[in-house]
Symmetry: C2
Subunit: 134 residues, 2 copies
Amino acid sequence: MTTATEAHSTAQQLIEMEDRALRRWCNGDPSGFLEISADDVVYFDPFQEQRIDGLPALTAYYESLRGMVRAERFEIINPCVQLIGDAAVLTFNFVSYGGNENALRWNCTEVFRHSKGEWKIIQTHWSFTKPNRS
Amino acid sequence: MTTATEAHSTAQQLIEMEDRALRRWCNGDPSGFLEISADDVVYFDPFQEQRIDGLPALTAYYESLRGMVRAERFEIINPCVQLIGDAAVLTFNFVSYGGNENALRWNCTEVFRHSKGEWKIIQTHWSFTKPNRS
């Protein structure tokens, strides 16, 4: 069993992990996410034709973006963590601001797995909030 | 521990649950998803300003769509199930076809939790595959 205090502590830990990875991401460095993603990670974003499967494929994709992403600041809005044993689901709305203060709004789901003493991401899903249909 | 055979069986069960709910969904009936969603379900789709939290809010939203969704056929593409104890993550690409054979392409993540002998959805994230940015 997990106590409410332990669950709260885990939730805070995961939100802070996500925040640290996002700070690096918004400074052009994808390694923060790669370091906390598991070998069997699966990944969706709005730019791919289909799901990306596995850390080698995600690494190749993220390395192609190294140095290309910049955001001056961002907000993690209303993060929610659902804990199920060694799995945790983090969901949040996200907004990033570029140099002209134009806001980009996103929906995000991260699923973490606890294994060998550490939490790693096994599923990432980024999508635009209210995009135009393709 | 879960054997490979048990994991395969669970994966098949969850994919079939999703398929049955989608068949009803594509015939205008949202109850298939509501019946397999947990009280604490969280939900993203491309039409909402922010995450929907909880079954009452999701029910209100889905009831507003009752009878409005029609698709002649659909495909669940390359479903993947990641099992972590009493949690399971189902991801797939999805394509639905209307009467004019125009395809709508989606990314989908469902997270299920096993509790009291049944699997229920605790997180749903639907997004468009390669939409135009908002």
